[in-house]
């Protein structure tokens, strides 16, 4: 009996004890009706619970804090300071109107993934709007992983670089169909209007094997707006002080809940002749472009079918050279130096995906694309004509091995390229040819659903010029602790260099062209082969209560063979030859971003590049490549008001260290350049005022510090002489430039 009493007493004391160490309570709404599933948790801890169907809860006390938070969707969160262990009765008040829900954090415009094996960044619409103008090549100016070069005066083209290597080494895909390649390598990015782009995915290092063997330093994929999600009407206009005007209109029509289509119409034009540095040459080409895309989307969710059909036409005309040049009279004469580049592009593509209804992890996709890219151009007396007709198709099957932790993708693809290429330089030659390749790939993805994943892929291809070869790629991701990720990648890439199409800015010079090898299959050269290895680490953390992130990465690209473009042997020559010796690109990037105050985001990056190649003379740093670069982007936006009114401010600062210039020592003294270009910095800024969710205007400035390169065109005084060269561009040619534009939508 005593034992029983003692036991009861003991139980009682236990319950008393437990009452002291835990908080009990009840959660009700205004009408005293219990709330089920409300969250009760200690502030800044992971200790929490939820209320039961009677609104009751019990939570253990913690030594960490006395602040207890009670939250429930649609109700205002309440905070209690717990001093003693009495029972709580919490009356939650409903949020009266939606506007009182405060979004405490702005979504980042560029997201770094913490769960993907591949070092992938996604630039959303918000990031793309930070650079209002105008096409894909300019979209990257606010992203530190990609360096946008300064456009040269003759082609007006802005080349992009990743890991210190120019765009031919980056695989560019439009919705995973190889896009900017071959004949369109030089200008292809400027043929994609920025407003068409929904998002851009940037992969640093070896890419996936699914899209081919050509990617060496990375992969850039861009997605075009999807008709099914699009708004009925969009218009964007842009005008700048350098005389460039752009107009974009999108018309969307939904024919049924399954079928929708968008018509994209783009036009741009520059008719004003600018010569700010008074060298007698236009600072940027004049010309016009018409670009039309009609995109159809068919979606049948019940049957698991998604299909796209695109038809596109583009015509672009550019004229550059001396201000006085009149193409009708002066073409192929020594009256004045001038250049015309006319491009026409037709594209038909279709992709269809089928997801097995009872197996959502299993799908089949089929992509088809036909492209025609025709360029007729002359640069003084040099002529370059290329017409590429290509067909690409890819069949891909996705499924799992035993469960969704083990996924695979496998398939085949086929590429056919018919090049009609003619050059008239110091020699005339027809390089017309047909290339084709067929390949099969298999890629396995393992994810332990926690802190480790791996993508291992390989493909085998047979190409009529590159032979039969295997391309292996491996990516590994590990989360060593919370909010941190380590990634490693290794992969091989192989490609046939289109030496003329990729280096056509060199045509605007009096250099003579020679190819030193004759035994290779393409222009006498052997294919380029490189291995790329990389390691990256990212950590997000709280710095003085601010959301911050640090990202470090190091990549090495090691060329086993390369089509070397040598400008250093002699300033009057361009030599192309197969690599003999070493060629590599090492890049290190340290990036830090922080949300300083609410809606004020700062992103800074330091970049180091060591890019060297063995030339005929000696091992040299790659010309026109800064060894050190520094980047900062500051973005601020105000709270969005009732009707969507908002201000957005964006400033980008770029500092470029010294850049080696190609050797000009044997020129006459007035045509010599220094060995290194000076370091300099460039400021860009943009302000956007949103008046409502459907209307906004923006103004901005580029190169606001008004830095311009001296001597942008060597030998500009005598373009038909032996020292003329317009390819030595290391900085802005045009000074400060301001622009304005508007966007209007019908939703």
């Amino acid at each position: 009996m005593y034992q029983k009493i003692a036991f009861l007493l003991f139980l009682f004391s236990v319950s008393v004890f437990s009452q002291n160490s835990e908080i009990k309570g009840k959660i009700v709404d205004q009408d005293n009706i219990p709330i089920l599933g409300a969250n009760i948790f200690w502030q800044s801890t992971s200790i929490g619970t939820t209320s039961d169907e009677n609104g009751l809860f019990t939570i253990q006390k913690t030594s960490e804090t006395n602040s207890l938070l009670v939250s429930y969707i649609g109700f205002n969160t309440q905070k209690f300071e717990i001093r003693d262990s009495k029972e709580l009765l919490v009356k939650l008040l409903e949020v009266t109107t939606l506007k009182e829900v405060s979004v405490s954090k702005t979504l980042k415009s560029t997201q770094n993934s913490y769960t993907a094996s591949i070092n992938l960044q996604t630039m959303g619409q918000k990031e793309l709007l930070k650079a209002a103008c105008c096409n894909l090549s300019e979209s990257f100016s606010t992203n530190p992983s990609i360096d946008v070069n300064f456009s040269d005066a003759v082609t007006g083209n802005k080349q992009i670089k990743m890991l210190g290597l120019t765009s031919p080494y980056i695989l560019m895909t439009e919705e995973n169909i190889p896009a900017v390649r071959g004949a369109s390598q030089a200008y292809g990015l400027s043929f994609v209007p920025g407003t068409w782009v929904e998002s851009i995915q940037i992969t640093k290092g070896a890419g996936s094997v699914i899209n081919g063997y050509e990617s060496i330093s990375g992969q850039i994929n861009y997605e075009i707006l999807k008709p099914i999600d699009d708004i009925p009407f969009f218009v964007n206009t842009y005008g700048s002080m350098d005389g460039r005007f752009e107009l974009n209109t999108h018309f969307n029509q939904k024919y049924s809940d399954k079928l929708s289509a968008t018509l994209f119409i783009h036009g741009n034009s520059r008719q004003t002749k600018n010569d700010m540095n008074n060298d007698g040459f236009l600072d940027n080409p004049i010309g016009k472009q018409v670009n039309i895309l009609n995109r159809w989307q068919y979606n049948d969710i019940e049957k698991g079918i998604v299909s796209f059909f695109n038809i596109r036409y583009m015509k672009d005309e550019k004229q550059s050279g001396q201000v006085a040049f009149n193409p009708d009279v002066d073409k192929f004469t020594t009256n004045a130096w001038g250049s015309n580049i006319n491009t026409e592009k037709i594209e038909l593509s279709n992709k269809t995906g089928y997801v097995f209804p009872d197996m959502p992890y299993q799908s089949i996709g089929f992509q088809n694309s036909f492209q025609m890219n025709k360029q007729d151009s002359y640069f003084g007396f040099n002529q370059y004509n290329i017409n590429q007709k290509s067909y690409y198709s890819n069949l891909i099957f996705n499924s799992i091995i035993s469960n969704t932790k083990n996924k695979f993708a496998t398939g085949v693809n086929f590429t056919y390229d018919d090049y009609n290429e003619n050059v008239v330089l110091n020699f005339s030659k027809d390089f017309s040819r047909i290339d084709n390749s067929v390949g099969a790939f298999f890629e396995y993805t393992f994810d332990n659903l926690d802190n480790f994943s791996l993508v291992a892929g390989a493909r085998i291809d047979n190409h009529n010029r590159l032979g039969t070869f295997v391309t292996p790629r491996l990516h590994v991701r590990y989360n060593p602790w919370e909010n941190a990720v380590v990634r490693a990648s290794i992969g091989r890439g192989k490609r046939a260099a289109n030496i003329f199409a990729e280096n056509q800015h060199l045509f605007a010079s009096s250099r003579s062209f020679s190819i030193l090898n004759t035994d290779g299959k393409l222009y006498g050269l052997n294919p380029e082969i490189a291995w790329n290895y990389g390691l990256s680490f990212s950590q997000s953390f709280n710095l003085f209560g601010k959301d911050s992130e640090i990202a470090l990465d190091y990549y090495v690209t090691d060329f086993q063979n390369q089509a070397v473009v040598d400008l250093d042997n002699n300033p009057q020559q361009v030599l192309f030859y197969n690599l003999k010796g070493k060629s590599f690109a090492k890049s290190f990037q340290a990036e830090f971003s922080i949300e300083l105050i609410k809606h004020l985001n700062v992103k800074s990056a330091y970049k180091f590049y060591d890019v060297q190649t063995q030339f005929t003379t000696r091992q040299l740093q790659r010309a026109l490549q800064a060894k050190h670069r520094f980047f900062t982007n500051v973005a601020f936006e105000t709270h969005i008001k009732d009707k969507g009114q908002q201000w957005k401010f964006d400033v980008t600062y770029n500092w470029l260290g010294e850049q080696r210039l190609p050797n000009t020592a044997s020129n006459l003294p007035q045509y010599q350049l220094k060995e290194y270009a000076p370091s300099f910095s460039v400021f860009n800024a943009q302000i956007t005022r949103t008046f409502s969710s459907v209307f906004e205007i923006y103004v901005g400035g580029e190169n606001m510090g008004n830095y311009t390169q001296d001597n942008a065109i060597v030998g500009a005084d005598n373009p038909f002489g032996g020292n003329f060269d317009s390819s030595m561009i290391y900085g802005p040619v045009f000074g400060q430039m301001y622009y304005a534009g508007l966007r209007f939508k019908i939703k």
């Binding site: 992971s46 619970t49 959502p360």
Partner: protein, 113 residues
């Protein structure tokens, strides 16, 4: 004789009922699993995947349902419920033990089903 016929009939019926319950290689199964947070999600899905024959497992924080695709020739929904209960989570069919429940991390102490 009558007995034999009866046995045969019964076994035939048995066979036909058996044939009616043809086992699917990718059967969709859904049931409720108690849980609160991302940690619970990882634990629940990991437990589900530990059962051979589970091809896909997806637990939803918002409505507490787990969506499974299982190979019925290798396992059953009960096997998965058992595996989930063994890591401390109640399902609408099978409850976990208090002991296992109490071992869960503080934020995972969901309202018992």
């Amino acid at each position: 004789m009558k007995k034999i016929i009866l046995v045969m009939l019964i076994s035939l019926v048995g066979i036909t009922t058996h044939a009616q319950e043809k086992k699917s290689k990718s059967k969709k199964v859904e049931f409720v699993v108690g849980g609160n947070c991302e940690m619970c999600k990882k634990r629940i899905e990991k437990a589900a995947f530990s059962v051979k024959g589970v091809k896909s497992a997806n637990w939803h924080i918002d409505h507490k349902d787990i969506h499974l695709i299982i190979d019925e020739t290798k396992c059953s929904a009960e096997d998965v419920q058992k595996a989930i209960a063994l890591v401390g989570h109640d399902t609408d069919k099978l409850k976990t033990s208090d002991k296992l429940y109490e071992k869960l991390h503080g934020c995972c102490q969901y309202a018992r089903l």
